[in-house]
């Protein structure tokens, strides 16, 4: 009758010791993992959702600790029960011939483990609903900065309609002082496929969906650079659709605004390069204020040199990288929609020299 019995008895002790060994191993692995994340210097380079610097991200962290606490407690209780059952009720050598008492159920116990979870769910829901309302239905204070973010394959366009600024990939917003709040409200649009705006330390993500207007807000409390990237698969180069948000002090922000509002450099020193820009396909996609280039498929280049990176954060903004990017975009970002421009070396040099003047 009991075919499984002999095998089972022999293996019982080894199973218990293996289980303990496995648990130790797991704990070790988790510890090592947390150490190697913890040993990374604490800076904004690690876009951790548990290191927020903006009101919406902070209230999400607050909620997440609550949810983690409750789920952690549930885990401890059920895991202890499971471990207890596995150890305590393993079959023993002695009474192996007899079947255990056949129990079919218990209404009271089953009622208990139905009602308690319902209560837990109710508490979790109420806590969550409060945060949903707090973030989604937040009023706009008078000092708020308004801007429009437009997702493109595979870069970000930022327009500040009230300030008359158009830029790309690197967002500048003012820090919000609790005494005088200047949160930033973003209107989110898409020019082609779905994208998602995610800078974990500033706010949760919101999608940019074509033919639909979404919005979100940031309320940063600390200056500095915050990293993020597109979080909704949008095509070949989804991975290199990076996002940099500079949170500036009010003075720095105003200086940046003034600089961006200037017309493009018109000193005529690099007329050859400018001529190449104006007489090739560049202007189909790119705009430089003051030239005949008004394209909108690619980033606005009027103040290209005010940005630290090119190709949506894929490369640093250096003359070498600019040259390589124009010559062969696939070398930096294979599958990007920027075509290789097939210019001669002399033309490339002239064009890069011209772009270098666009401060």
């Amino acid at each position: 009758m009991r075919i499984g019995e002999t095998m089972c008895n022999a293996d019982r002790r080894t199973i218990a010791s293996r289980a303990v060994g496995l648990l130790i191993l797991l704990a070790g692995v988790l510890l090592a993992a947390s150490l190697c994340t913890a040993s990374t210097p604490v800076n904004h380079q690690v876009p951790s959702i548990f290191d927020p610097h903006s009101t919406p991200a902070e209230s999400i962290r607050h909620l997440s600790f609550f949810v983690l606490g409750i789920t952690g407690l549930i885990f401890l209780v059920v895991f202890s029960l499971l471990s207890y059952v596995v150890v305590k009720f393993r079959s023993r050598v002695g009474g192996a011939e007899r079947e255990p008492a056949q129990v079919y159920g218990s209404t009271q116990i089953e009622l208990a483990w139905t009602v308690i979870p319902i209560l837990i769910v109710a508490v979790l829901f109420l806590a969550t609903a409060r945060v949903i309302h707090g973030i989604q239905d937040a009023p706009r204070p008078a000092g708020a900065v308004e801007l429009t973010a437009i997702g493109h394959q595979f870069w970000w366009e930022f327009r500040y309609p009230e300030l008359g600024i158009v830029t790309a990939n690197e967002l500048h917003i003012p820090v919000s002082d609790p005494g005088h709040r200047t949160p930033t409200f973003l209107k989110l649009l898409s020019a082609d496929t779905d994208h998602s705006f995610w800078v974990p330390q500033l706010a949760g993500k919101t999608d940019l969906i074509p033919n639909r207007v979404n919005d979100m807000w940031l309320d940063p409390h600390e200056t500095g650079l915050f990293l993020g990237q597109c979080a909704q698969y949008c095509g070949t180069q989804h991975a290199k659709m990076l996002l940099r948000v500079y949170v500036d002090s009010p003075e720095d922000f105003n200086a940046w605004v003034r600089e961006q509002q200037q017309p493009a450099n018109q000193d005529g020193k690099e007329a050859a390069g400018r001529h190449i820009f104006e007489s090739t396909a560049c202007l189909n996609c790119h705009a430089i204020a003051g030239t005949n280039g008004t394209g909108r498929f690619g980033p606005d280049l009027t103040h290209l040199m005010s940005r630290r990176t090119i190709a949506a954060g894929a490369a640093e903004n250096t003359p070498e990288n600019l040259r390589l990017w124009i010559q062969n975009p696939d070398a930096i970002k294979p599958g990007s929609l920027m075509p290789a421009m097939k210019l001669s070396d002399a033309e490339l040099d002239a064009l890069v020299r011209y772009l270098e003047t666009l401060h």
Binding site: G4, M7, I15, R18, L22, L25, V29, T37, T40, Q45, V46, I49, I60, S64, V67, T71, V78, F79, L81, L82, V85, V86, F89, G95, A101, V103, Y104, G105, E110, W113, T114, P117, V121, L124, F125, T128, A129, I132, H133, L188, D192, W198, G204, K205, D207, I209, P210, N211, R212, Q229, A231, Y233, C234, G235, T236, H238, K240, L242, P334, G335
Partner: protein, 557 residues
């Protein structure tokens, strides 16, 4: 009931030409053979999907890796997801349902044997069509040949403007074909369970496996239908000038999301409910006790089925729904936790006071319980919509649903393989290899998917073919890849066990586990007609009654 009803000898004559055997298998309408075909087909695609996962993991092993190009990487994760859901998980579960349901309810075959065969071949050709895209799906420049739009194929990425060529069409038509196959099988399972039960087997006496497959089939009907409708609409958009999802022509991208996820979320339960069924059969036998709270288990499953039809938009918390919609889908999603919790507690109640035997099927079921618990709890975190605004679309979600699909579904499935392999082949799987498989897979699984949560918390989005160094993701991704390799090795041990034991395994006999349901009353493998004379049952555990005439279940039910 008659347990000595096994007079029919299998008509297999040795030394027949292989063409004849092949012909028999291709034209078969026998539920057991179709079940085996489903399972073998799924195992084949499991290996393919596993190779795709390996490519993904090698590419992500370190930042700025260039093992594959972004185009290839995007095809890999699209094909990996599509393959694993539609051509591994669905067929293997249908395979077990096909094989086991008639045997467990005392029937000689499914209600519609020819529909059964038709459904299998539709699904099979669906998978072949999908993979034919690698050869036949020539896209325009940059479009790739295999589909590269993600397994959700979100609009408008799958429209002609962004997915030229035919790669997306292969995806669409493959899913349409296999979807019809799934609907056929679901109808068949429902009809079989409703009308083919043996004398005495009231609905309240059915094995839980039959009950849960009944619920699963009902959900398939409700879930696959909108998916098929959406595929047809996408085809209309792509070839007949429609604008359902064409955002440039006034269409709606979110409409596709609703269609896809009202399929996609119930689909998760379509996959996990049969695994609940495996656990509900295996845990009692190896605890030597009947299932705790049978009526509540049935009720909780039906409840999960209903509630899971109203949670789909929790996949869409980031699309800018208003606060009321987000609250609604938060509460419905959390509510699923209640019946699911009841199930976990009832399995614990089954083990409580039992005499637990740690044979390989039981080990996998205990792993399933433990991991499904964690998957459920991370699910609660994701249900809390503001938390989801951070976690959604990140590697945390990838870790969460692999916890469900690998830690839950696959572990229960492995348990089912070890448990029913003796019935299907007549030979036991090797116990030592089985335990090696279990422990290796357990270690690999936890190394991969425990750690995979963390990069998500540190801001790593999913579906990126490479990432920037210095964001705290590097070491974790490296370890995750190592874990993936350990799982790969464990899977090879499993496949080796399947093959070796088929030829060299210990003879199983009718009832190697001393179990209680009807399939163990017939020979292993069962004769063509299953039961020479239809059994008559008086309780949920007919074989218990037979083995314990002094204390039968029928006295208490």
């Amino acid at each position: 009931m008659s347990s000595d009803a096994i007079a029919i000898q299998p008509a297999e004559a040795a030394g027949r030409p292989w063409v004849e055997t092949l012909h028999e298998w291709v034209t078969t309408v026998d539920h057991k053979r179709l079940g085996i075909l489903y399972i073998l087909y799924a195992l084949f695609f499991l290996v393919i999907g596993g190779i795709e996962a390996t490519v993904i993991r090698i590419q992500l092993m370190r930042p700025h890796n260039d093992f594959v190009s972004p185009q290839v990487f995007n095809r890999m994760f699209t094909m990996h997801g599509t393959t694993m859901i539609f051509f591994v998980a669905m067929p293997v579960l249908f395979g077990f349902a096909n094989y086991l349901v008639p045997l467990m309810i005392g029937a000689r075959d499914m209600a519609f044997p020819r529909l059964n065969a038709f459904s299998f071949w539709l699904t099979a050709f669906g998978g072949l069509l999908l993979y034919f895209s690698f050869v036949g799906g020539n896209g325009l420049y940059g479009a790739g040949n295999a589909p590269d739009v993600g397994w959700w194929a979100y609009a408008p990425l799958a429209s002609r403007a962004f997915s030229p060529g035919h790669s997306s069409d292969y995806w669409t038509i493959a899913l349409l074909a296999s979807g019809f196959g799934s609907i056929g099988t679901a109808i068949n399972i429902i009809a079989t369970i409703i009308s083919m039960r043996c004398p005495g087997m009231k609905l309240s006496r059915m094995p839980l496996l039959a009950w849960l497959n009944l619920v699963m089939s009902g959900m398939v009907l409700l879930a696959i239908t909108p998916l098929s409708a959406a595929q047809l609409m996408l085809l209309v958009d792509r070839y007949l000038g429609g604008h359902f999802f064409d955002t440039q022509g006034g269409g709606s991208a979110t409409l596709w999301m609703h269609f896809f996820w009202i399929f996609g979320h119930p689909e998760v339960y379509v996959l996990i409910i049969p695994c609940f069924a495996f656990a509900s059969e295996i845990i009692p036998v190896f605890s030597r006790k009947p299932i705790f709270g049978y009526p509540v288990m049935v009720g909780a499953t039906v409840c999960i089925a209903f509630v899971s039809m109203s949670v789909w938009a929790h996949h869409m918390f980031t699309i800018g729904m208003n606060s009321y919609a987000n609250s609604f889908f938060t509460i419905t999603t959390m509510a699923v936790g209640v019946p699911t919790g009841i199930k976990i507690f009832n399995w614990l109640g089954t083990m409580w006071g039992g005499k637990i035997q740690f044979r390989t099927p039981m080990l996998f079921c205990i792993g399933f319980l433990f991991q499904f618990l964690i998957a459920g709890l991370t699910g609660i975190m994701l249900a809390s919509s503001p938390f989801d605004w951070q976690l959604g679309g990140s590697y945390f979600v990838v870790a969460h649903f692999h916890y469900v699909i690998v830690g839950g579904i696959l572990f229960a499935l492995f348990g089912a393989f070890y448990y029913w392999y003796p019935k299907i082949t007549g030979r036991m799987l090797h116990e030592g290899l089985g335990k090696l498989h279990f422990w290796l897979f357990l270690i690999g699984f936890h190394l991969t998917f425990d750690l995979m949560h963390i990069p998500g918390l540190l801001g790593m989005p999913r579906r990126i073919y490479t990432y920037e160094p210095g964001r705290g993701w590097d070491t974790l991704n490296f370890l995750v890849t190592i874990g993936a390799f350990v799982q790969g090795i464990a899977t090879l041990v499993f496949v080796a066990n399947l093959i070796v034991s088929y030829f060299k395994g210990k003879k199983a006999g009718n009832d190697p586990w001393d179990a209680w349901t009807l399939e163990w009353s017939v020979s292993s493998p069962p004769p063509v007609y299953n039961f020479a004379s239809l059994p008559r049952v008086a309780s949920r555990r007919p074989l218990w009654d037979l083995k314990h005439p002094e204390d039968p279940d029928s006295r208490y039910e």
